[in-house]
Symmetry: C2
């Protein structure tokens, strides 16, 4: 019998953001993701931004067929127009008493200390300083511009 979930794959995680002019530099320049595509939905007053690690050539303004057809693992940022002009933080990061649920997105890096030093120099807030977690791997948490937690985790054991 054929596998009923053949061809299924994990494509993206969506989070709502206040201001793409803050979030794109964080995910693109701070974390090194490519902005694959921004879709603007003028009648509905929102934009979707897809970012991913992708080594190949991204077509100019790829369509949804390309985005969902390629083997990407994306972060999808939803921007409801106008939030960028609001005071404070419109969204819950999922880790406080109110709205707890979602935890974090995690990025694997070769050197968590170097990654955090660079992100801190760029002005981002290191929420948990780099160091061993459960004595096994080095991790840190950095806050994105909406205060979502981004885990930075090293892809080698800590005593290498």
């Amino acid at each position: 019998m054929s596998n009923p979930t053949e061809g299924y794959r994990f494509h993206h995680s969506m989070i709502r953001i206040k201001d793409p002019e803050k979030s794109v530099p964080f995910y693109r320049d701070g974390l090194g993701m490519k902005l694959i595509r921004k879709f603007d939905f003028e009648k509905a007053n929102f934009s979707l931004l897809f970012l991913a690690y992708y080594d190949g050539e991204v077509p100019n303004e790829p369509n949804m067929e390309w985005i969902f057809g390629e083997r990407l693992a994306c972060v999808e940022l939803t921007h409801n127009w106008g939030t960028e002009k609001q005071d404070g933080y419109p969204y819950a990061n999922g880790n406080e008493d109110v709205g707890k649920g979602f935890g974090h997105l995690a990025i694997v890096v070769p050197d968590v200390y170097a990654a955090c030093e660079r992100l801190e120099r760029m002005g981002y807030n290191i929420r948990r300083k780099p160091g061993p977690m459960m004595g096994v791997v080095n991790i840190a948490f950095v806050e994105d511009p909406d205060k979502y937690w981004i885990e930075i985790v090293e892809n080698k054991p800590k005593n290498q």
Copy 2:
């Protein structure tokens, strides 16, 4: 100059769950992911479960080095022990007025109608029936056992 984010990649999204005995069947049997590893932290009273699409052979109880070293895109489920005995839903799904922020995880599938028909038959709740989104691709939303929204999206244009 070398690229300072060389080797960075998106590894996982973490969500807190009430009961792994409900969530594992959903992600494994319903969505076809492999349970890569469950870590139990007895002193801290929680477990972490990593699930991913992975075609290769998963070692028996792979360590964190393997999990973070391999090119996986995982869902990480956090189970704080005891929540499974609570009434109701301990966590916010990120899409209601209280706790809005996180939106969804998205799974690409070859046929969104077949996927939803199967998930519905397994007893899961289809929140948005399959159909075209913005006239471009077919999508649906299904609820996981904690009512997190899982987008099911087709990897081909709708009029193929």
